[in-house]
Symmetry: D2
Subunit: 321 residues, 4 copies
């Protein structure tokens, strides 16, 4: 293992730079050459990559986004694209590759392994929706961004005795919504994993909360639920007479200087990925299980499922009395 | 002047609590009884008010929103409502009233003065759109909230080489958009005060920026411009081929712990309002002129206009090269 | 189980209010009466306690510190004090008690159990130094406060090409120092668990970093190491010629609105504590193991040890190349 | 005016990068070549400078510190040093120079003007202690950093019913202490401009506050007062029996991403400095008067004094009842 490449793929997430830095510096520490590949798999296919040394990643720990940039790559979804990637890797002398991204990116990593390029994947996505890992890089920062926004919305909701309906990210998963809901004391949390009844699960808690003396209510809706928070706010206002306002938090949730947790876990995971390649391993996902950084086979990892905790869903309800 | 009332009216703004605290404590310092009136003019009309002492406002300086709450009051727009307010004030022994709010609230204050209740107004609105005052309480916190959000959006815009189109608040005025635009290095700032040409003022700077090596562009649009940022993002993407994403920052802009500037100026203004009443003055707006806290006649104040600085608009353009 | 008491003891930590809220609301949900006891064990001995209902803990999730306050209680270290506590508990009808604090507080909880008052303990301390729990309430917020401060110090260190020597909290443990060190890219981390050689472990990395082109260096020292960072900064400056500045972060590390992680885990732990009492359990510490909230016997828990990870210490070194 | 240089000198301050960016981009906009000079006057004397174009200052608006770095320069305090600076400026073809810093740096700028190099100065210091300017770059960010820290200290002070004694920066001036004191609701503010009596001005308000039901007290001491907050905390504890803790905020006050106000005013000032040089003006300080950005003669500016407002000192007292 003389030379390895590193790329970020899929949606960006805070902490990706900490992972890149860990790859580059762990490489430097062990005398391995590291090349930074630009714009995800596009940079691999097009040979858009540069040498990185320990100084290339100075002052990046605290930066949001990804210094290697990221993009979708349709060409890479075809077999020909993957073969081209492996060839270009040979041209640049890459003996291994580290891919930081979500499950879509992991499938690309699996294809590269099968086509002969040793590859290790690192989970980087704010959505925390990787089945084999308790944690994904960016999730904690995203949650704190959401909390900060909801705390602000509560100020104004309380002042006006309004109901705030807030759409948060998470793709098909409800982790962001549920944990932000508990952290912010939401009256209602809607997630894609659990069906809901509008009257029973939305209107009733709002009206009961008001009856119990609450000055405002906070409704957090995961984007994966697939409803319009604007429409929902209107319906709440019509049916309860309580003023309701919708907010779609949007892409702010992807940005920001990473939290300690994201920086530390990203550092551990990036470093682990280099060491796996050095040990001759390939086709692995670095992941967190039982709060430890371990690794699993990519194919197996992609088939693992994790479930939103029902206990935590119940907790959210209990605590909103 | 034995007893005064204080209320917050219109949209809430960070720093209103600092102003309320300053009213209550300046009152306490001078031996004046202060009553806190709930939900704006509604509380006046309905006699919904309570005694406040120095301890009632402990731990409120750092809180967003308004502890007195706020609401619209249609009844108060009628002469009968104003007369009722003056009568209730008499019942509760109020010798004077302090109203913290925007220009709509000031008109109510003027009506009360004319109907015989000595009233002083304090500018509290994030929009900074009060003609007679360089500054309104909440404006600085709002700007910093917007900056924080745009800094986060830039992380992800840069990573994906996208264009971010962001709607910010400000009602009919462009102060928030313009100053956030300079602070965040926006490529384009659109404000209601200045007409724009889409090709010349939006598309061209984006394309020129890209040609000059910019990895992303930030377009800030004041809500008062009246366009849909969602539509604008689509049009930018179609016409430039650059991926564009829209974000409506929404009500988060109203919340948050107030900045130093908002807490200090709110403290000065709230205290000044009490002292004006003590000096037997009425029908005054406390305001900032030449960076000093002074006061003007409400009627005159309501007719003053201030203009968005053209120099600052030009500066925004120069600095986005 | 009709009535339970809750108190916070020892040093305050962000998230204690989330735990109190979870106790109160889980109690309310199950129809159990909850009394809030003031100033730790003092309030128990002196009968300084009040009923709390679901509304008593409104708007507390986001507040730092502890609304029940906390204090040392020398009297409680004597057997007579503990007996008095149990008697007062009887007088107020407490069937059980929840104690939120560090290991000193846990010993008090154990004494109460032995004297006949069913008690459950919840780990609340920024230091993360509870042997039986991977996590203690307040730790994550503290780490992010430290990170924020060190990120600021780096700005000025880099501008002046200085060395920053920073003392952080942690009592006898190095968790805060080590994790903040990785998160902030510290060149040197000194912890009480691992002896160090000043020339080899402090001076050498600073000089090597400079030789490799680093513009500044960050030295993080856990308070448990027991050296003066002021003296250390002087010595570094004398021996390397590089300007060095010391900062003692101090009590700011205890404050601040809790992070998502602290709010969520505190909510889980507080709720779990109530449910343990409801199940007739006593003498338990609620703790986190393998990233799950579980419980252990207090006596056993107090004897468990956890070790600072040597892998993470090595990682800190690798990543500072 | 074909080529101008820009340097930062003295202590660093948040917003200096916004000023540098404004100089570079205003230069680029008008077709003027800009050279960035490293480490203050040292870089001028040693010819340590580089061309900067519009892209050199990308992504710098949000960064604390100064990308040009800063340092003391003893050599420049001698006439020979100044002459050398003027000669090197000629060698590099500099037709003018912009100096961003405090009053020490302004004296250097005056010397350069007298020795024949057209120079304009911009006030950059967190201390706000420039007589001719209502505002200095970095002051607002510093105040908000102090406020954030004191808000955190209040959490723990209140929980433990302690007194917090906090030393803040400001060199010989009390602006930071006074304004942070009002913003944070300090019980006592000590500034170098106003003598104080320990019993009357420190002990008495603490004891009176306690008698009025306050759970904590905050004492803010400007570094210019010249007392040890550690000693003062001890004395307070001994004489009142109230636990007291000292905190020296230190260099964190210099760092952090600049606030909107710092970014906007720094942008205005940096741009104005270039335009003054373009108009053939020299020997000017760009400054803020009556909330407008104007310019004054350096020599005259250095002689102007500004006074800490006594009204604001009184206000701090009134509001701490």
């Amino acid at each position: 293992m003389h030379t390895i490449g590193v790329l970020t793929s899929g949606g960006d997430a805070p902490g990706m730079n900490a992972a890149i830095r860990a790859v580059v510096r762990t490489g430097a520490y062990h005398g391995i050459r590291v090349m930074g590949i630009k714009r995800g798999y596009n940079g691999l296919i097009n040979g858009d990559m540069d040498d990185m040394d320990a100084r290339s990643v100075s002052e990046t720990l605290q930066k949001g986004g990804t210094i290697l940039q990221t993009a979708r790559c349709l060409e890479f979804k075809e077999e020909a694209g993957v073969r081209k990637g492996v060839e270009i890797a040979k041209v640049f002398g890459l003996d291994g590759l580290i891919v930081i991204g979500g499950d879509g990116s992991f499938r690309g990593a699996l294809d590269l392994c099968r086509a002969g390029l040793p590859t290790v994947a690192v989970p980087g996505t704010i959505d925390n929706d990787i089945g084999c890992s308790e944690y994904t890089i960016g999730y904690d920062t995203c949650l704190n961004t959401v909390q900060d926004a909801v705390d602000k919305l509560r100020d104004t909701s309380t002042s006006h005795e309004r109901c705030s309906v807030i759409e948060v990210m998470g793709r098909g998963a409800g982790y962001i919504a549920l944990n932000a809901g508990i952290a912010c004391g939401a009256e209602v949390v809607l997630v894609p994993e659990i069906p809901y009844d509008f009257d029973e699960d939305v209107l009733r808690p709002i009206l009961e909360g008001k009856a119990r003396g609450k000055k405002h209510s906070i409704i957090i809706v995961a984007e994966g639920v697939g409803v319009s928070v604007i429409e929902m706010a209107k319906e709440i206002q019509e049916k309860t007479g309580i003023e309701a306002r919708a907010t779609i938090l949007g892409h702010v949730q992807r940005g920001g200087s990473p939290s300690v947790r994201d920086r530390v876990i990203a550092s551990e995971m990036g470093s682990k990925a280099v060491e796996l390649l050095m040990e001759g391993k390939s086709n692995r996902i670095v992941c967190m299980q039982n709060s430890k950084v371990v690794d699993v086979d990519i194919e197996e990892g992609l088939q693992m499922k994790k479930k939103l905790s029902e206990d935590i869903m119940k907790l959210a309800k209990k605590l909103s009395v």
